[in-house]
């Protein structure tokens, strides 16, 4: 009795799997509405057919371990295919996706769900299976089990017809962007595009190297801008502040006469001579929004400070002499009673997506934070992003070269080669120091254009810049501190 119930459930599961996803896909979506699967949809559909086929094996030969093992393997591969396919579109805006939508979800999403249900169903059947259920001889199929087999064959036959029309005989195979299904052979497109050479990668376009200031050329003469005027270093010294880590950015607040220095995880408020730390803390970058390591520092309004991670996540702190050390245990690793954490979140960019940043600057005039991207092994663009009062993307642009600047690009070089590691803003101008080619770019934020550029020979891996009065303070990875005069224009 129990065994009959098991086989009945299995037969119904085979029919359901054959009819609902695989059958509806071919007979309704395909033959009626002209939907054609992409190459990944084809494999997911075939995987569902294979799970159903294993079900037929079990109906005929009993629940032998090799069949159950095969069913689990195919379904798990199906779950992987579903995640791989859904992942391509999962981060798009609401309603966006690829191809048809069914009951509010795109087809590839349903594939993930169906495989998940398949695995769960197999788990339940395995729990109910006993040792004596394993058959020595092929079983005689009951009418419902025959029906499952016939339904399966009809559905597969339909898919064979669609596959022949849509993908063709071997070696042709499915396409990334399929053509609408038609019974008319003149509309058929058989493609070999998937066989064409392409680089093999695990993470594809997501395989992006972390920024590395040591990996760029510091030689100004090798840069994309020709014959730059030189900005001489007025003084050079070394930071003596007791920092945990190396300096990653610098900012100056004339209202409080303090410098802000960030290290990989540390935030330091120092006096105006950079000789003494007034207060500091070390952020616990885990257990919440992953801040990575800081690349940018900025003073906001009313003394609040912001540290921006290279991954464009940020934390905002407020100095407070009476901060609750116990409450701050969860946020900080050192000096628990000097700051309150105001917020910790992430900047979202559009043109700057898939790129890291090593800088941050605050513009009091527009009450905005700016970041600048650094190029990487996949994406090479110089993108300036502005985040308004709500710290949401408010403006984004790729600066051009102002005609009146007299600057000239050499050959086919571009501004995208610069590796901006620090920025400071005053009077609508951004001063951006590039570790690549030791170049200081002056960018008019209103005109969205580079209006001047200067070579600063002698810098070694600059990581931050701050404007104090008419001097630009540039800090290096090693703790070196260079002071240059703010360019006249």
């Amino acid at each position: 009795m129990r065994r009959d119930v098991l086989y009945t459930i299995l037969a119904l599961a085979v029919i359901a799997l054959a009819v609902i996803p695989v059958g509806v896909a071919v007979f309704v979506l395909g033959f009626v509405y002209g939907d054609s699967p992409c190459v990944m949809c084809w494999e997911q559909r075939i995987g569902m057919a294979l799970v159903a086929l294993v079900g037929l094996f079990v109906l005929r030969y009993g629940p032998k371990p090799k069949y159950l093992g095969m069913a689990v393997l195919v379904a798990i591969w199906g779950v992987f295919m579903g995640i791989r396919h859904t992942g391509m579109h999962a981060a798009r805006d609401v309603g966006q996706g690829f191809s048809a939508e069914i009951l509010g979800a795109h087809t590839y999403t349903w594939a993930l769900f169906i495989y998940w249900v398949s695995v769960a169903t197999m788990g339940v059947l395995l729990l109910m299976t006993k040792k004596e259920d394993i058959e020595d001889q092929p079983r005689t199929l009951r009418p419902l089990e025959w029906l499952a087999g016939v339904v399966f064959l009809v559905v597969i036959a339909g898919n064979i017809i669609q596959a022949f029309a849509s993908t063709g005989p071997p070696p042709f195979m499915g396409q990334s962007d399929p053509v609408r299904f038609s019974f008319n052979p003149t509309h058929w497109v058989w493609s070999l595009e998937e066989w064409s050479p392409a680089p093999i990668s695990l993470r594809g376009r997501w395989s992006i190297d972390k920024p590395d200031v040591a990996a760029v050329s510091s030689e100004p003469g090798a840069g994309p801008l020709a014959d730059l005027p030189i900005l001489s270093v007025k003084t050079q010294s070394k930071l003596t502040l007791p920092l945990a880590g190396t300096p990653t950015d610098l900012a100056y607040d004339p209202a409080t006469s303090q410098f802000l220095v960030t290290t990989q995880q540390g935030i330091y408020l120092a006096d105006e001579t950079l000789g003494k730390v007034n207060r500091h803390t070390v952020i616990d970058v885990g257990f919440a929004v992953d801040l990575g390591q800081f690349g940018g520092a900025a003073f906001l309004d009313k003394g609040a400070v912001m540290a921006v991670g290279e991954n464009k996540s940020y934390v905002v702190l407020e100095p407070n002499d009476k901060a609750d050390a116990n409450a701050n245990f969860r946020y900080f690793l050192e000096s628990f009673d000097k700051f309150n954490e105001v917020s910790r979140s992430r900047f979202g960019t559009v043109r700057g997506r898939m790129m890291y940043t090593m800088s941050a600057a605050y513009d009091p005039a527009t009450k905005s934070v700016y970041t600048v991207t650094v190029p990487n092994n996949k994406v090479k663009r110089l993108v300036i992003s502005r985040f308004g009062r709500d710290l949401t993307l408010s403006e984004e642009f790729l600066p051009t070269i102002a005609a009146e600047s007299g600057l000239k690009l050499t050959g086919k070089r571009t501004l995208d080669e610069f590796y901006v590691t620090g920025t400071a803003i005053a009077d609508g101008r951004m001063y951006a120091i590039s570790a690549a080619y030791n170049t200081l770019l002056t960018i008019d934020l209103h005109a969205r254009a580079v209006v001047a550029a200067h070579a600063i020979p002698g810098l070694v891996r600059p990581t931050g810049i701050a404007l104090k009065g008419e001097d630009l303070y540039i800090v290096g990875e090693s703790g070196a501190l260079w002071v240059v005069a703010r360019p006249p224009n």
Binding site: W42, L56, F57, W77, I83, T86, P170, M173, I200
Partner: protein
């Protein structure tokens, strides 16, 4: 290639239903079909084998 794979599946199912004594052959076809599916999906996604999301 999907056409070929579906034909293999069809034949395997026919064997299970109509010639159950050819169990080994049917299972062999099942294995070939599974491997072909894995291979074709991997070919189609070779430029980014893992799901393209943040890790």
């Amino acid at each position: 290639m999907e056409f070929l794979n579906l034909v293999i599946i069809f034949i395997a199912a026919c064997l299970v239903l109509r010639k159950p004594h050819k169990e080994r052959l049917a299972f062999g076809l099942l294995v070939v079909s599974v491997l072909l599916m894995v291979f074709l999906f991997s070919i189609a996604t070779r430029t980014g084998l893992l799901p393209g999301v943040n890790y």
